[in-house]
């Protein structure tokens, strides 16, 4: 259950007149994990909201699994694209957390017992299994975000879209979200995430797309994109901490994780010019 997505010269103009996406062409292969980065207002959320049909192109085409979203309803797209909103309160509505997470699979035609099993498993993945009987408003905003994530996991869609998944999460919450991203990807499902957390991005995504002013400014392998310092600066994106440090120290290596960084530190020549007082 692995499908590709494609944006072809996508433009989107809001009714108020703002053109938030101004000609984006982008192909995401089945099973890829792609992070979309850029400052507030760059058009990231507008772009991905086309994947589940909440927004329809002003012009251009969006293909999910090879078929245009134009001819399909939100309900049809929901079977293929799971979407975790930036604000979880936009998507939680049931009176218990368990019922909320079961809703998606039941809506996709699962039997009640299958839906309950999927919900239990998804809640365990986000470490909220003990809270299944509570009302969502008994949880903190960061926990509600994890409920929304569980709801999408339970639908087992081939594409998962995450809008700012680590926002407001504490250290453990970020780890849980990272584990979810890794496991979805390991199942060959396609992950598209919007994030401001470049360190999280470096550690868990293979490919990075930089957006600014409704356009793609850079796109490619994570290491290569974070090396395009000028482009990143114009898009107001700061490279991950360890990449900045390696560059500052004059290293050739571009480490994405603490382990890669420490490994590189034993091999890189020490440049006396790097001294910082």
């Amino acid at each position: 259950m692995s499908i590709a997505i494609e944006f072809i010269d996508l433009h989107f103009r809001y009714p108020g007149g703002v053109e938030a996406v101004r000609g984006v062409s982008l192909t995401v292969s089945a099973g890829e994990r792609v992070a979309i980065v850029g400052e507030n207002g760059a058009g990231k959320t507008t772009l991905v909201r086309h994947l589940n049909g909440i927004l329809r192109p002003t012009s251009g085409t969006v293909l999910v699994g090879g078929a245009s979203t134009r001819d399909r309803s939100i309900a049809q797209l929901a079977a293929q694209v799971g979407y975790v909103f930036q604000n979880p309160d936009e998507q939680l509505f049931a009176s218990t957390i368990g019922a909320d997470v079961e809703f998606g699979p039941r809506n996709l035609g699962c039997t009640p017992s299958e839906a309950a099993a999927r919900a239990a498993s998804a809640l365990a993945t986000v470490q909220l299994q003990d809270q299944a009987g509570l009302h969502p408003h008994h949880l903190s905003p960061s926990e509600r975000k994890r409920v929304a994530l569980a709801g999408v996991l339970a639908m087992q869609t081939p594409v998962v879209v995450l809008d700012e998944p680590t926002t407001g999460q504490d250290a453990r919450g970020v780890e849980i979200v990272a584990g979810v991203v890794d496991s979805i990807a390991a199942q060959g499902r396609t992950v598209v995430a919007i994030t401001h957390d470049m360190d999280f991005c470096a550690e868990h995504f293979d490919r990075v797309v930089v957006m600014a002013d409704g356009l793609v400014q850079a796109d490619g392998d994570t290491r290569a994109v974070f090396d395009q310092v000028g482009t990143l600066e114009r898009a107001a994106v700061e490279p991950p901490q360890l990449l900045r440090l390696a560059a500052h120290l004059g290293w050739h290596a571009r480490p994405l994780t603490p382990a890669e960084f420490v490994d590189a530190s034993t091999r890189e020549p020490r440049d006396p010019g790097t001294r910082v007082d």
Binding site: E39, N40, G41, Q86, N87, D89, S140, P141, S142, E143, T167, G168, Q169, D170, A171, R172, G173, V174, H196, D199, A236, V237, E238, P240, Q241, L242, R244, L245, H248, L249, P258, A259, F261, V262, S265, T266, R270, D271, P272, T274, R275, V276, D277
Partner: protein, 291 residues
Amino acid sequence: MIQLADVSYAYPDSGRFVLEHVDLRIEPGTITGVVGASGAGKTTLAKILSGFIPHVDGGQLSGSVVIGGRDLSGLPLAACVSQVGLVIQNPFNQISGARYTVRGELAFGMENLGTPRDEMANRVAEVAGLLRITDLLDRSPYELSGGQQQLVAIASMLVLRTPVLVMDEPTSQLDPAGTRMVFGVLSRLRGTGTTIVVFEHKPELLHAHADRLHVLAGRRIAASGSPGEILSDPRTDQWGVSATRYTRAARLAREQGLVPAEAPLPVSFEQAAAFFGWSARTRPPSPEDAR
């Protein structure tokens, strides 16, 4: 000065204490960070510091909460509100809904406090300029993005010019540039004597801006110290506090025996550059590097 002595609290009808025997002293004109895992009681502490507990939420509060020499529990809520501005975690809930524009929303609190009309307009213009939301003043507060709403929520407290500001995750909806801008504004306010208590997860920012950090864990204050001390403490994982990647990489280097075990761990970029560039200087990092 803010002083909490032996504060314990249980929400109404729960019988379960979320904070127990909390002692806390906060100096005036400083930025204090409170860190800890979700569910550690940070939001509860924010409400206690601003009088919303017990005045609005009720519950069982014991101990004393003294701000500017007066115990908040003995003051009516209106008096607490003029002392302490609380920016709550979800900016959408901060918007009163009583006014149709951002400008009206920002003036709303001042109207309740009886601020003269000219003065209100001046303060709205000044704070909107500081937070770069001047172009939003005539928009509806409900038509804004999450990040814009958060800036409006912060502005609605700044215009009140309370001597104390308590902020519960004030940058959760903002991009890095917006986050830096807000902390820049907080640093300016500290310079004019405002006391700021901020509940925040982002370690690089706390290190750059906070004077002191307190860790909330196990229903009490588990540790207090400078940002450098707290964020490089070996217990950060156990507390549920994020360490910077610089600290994580340095810890790993130490575990692998690449640096002396006594070398102080870096928290900031500058410290990490000194730490990992140390062999170029033919000496291991010294305690001065962590200053």
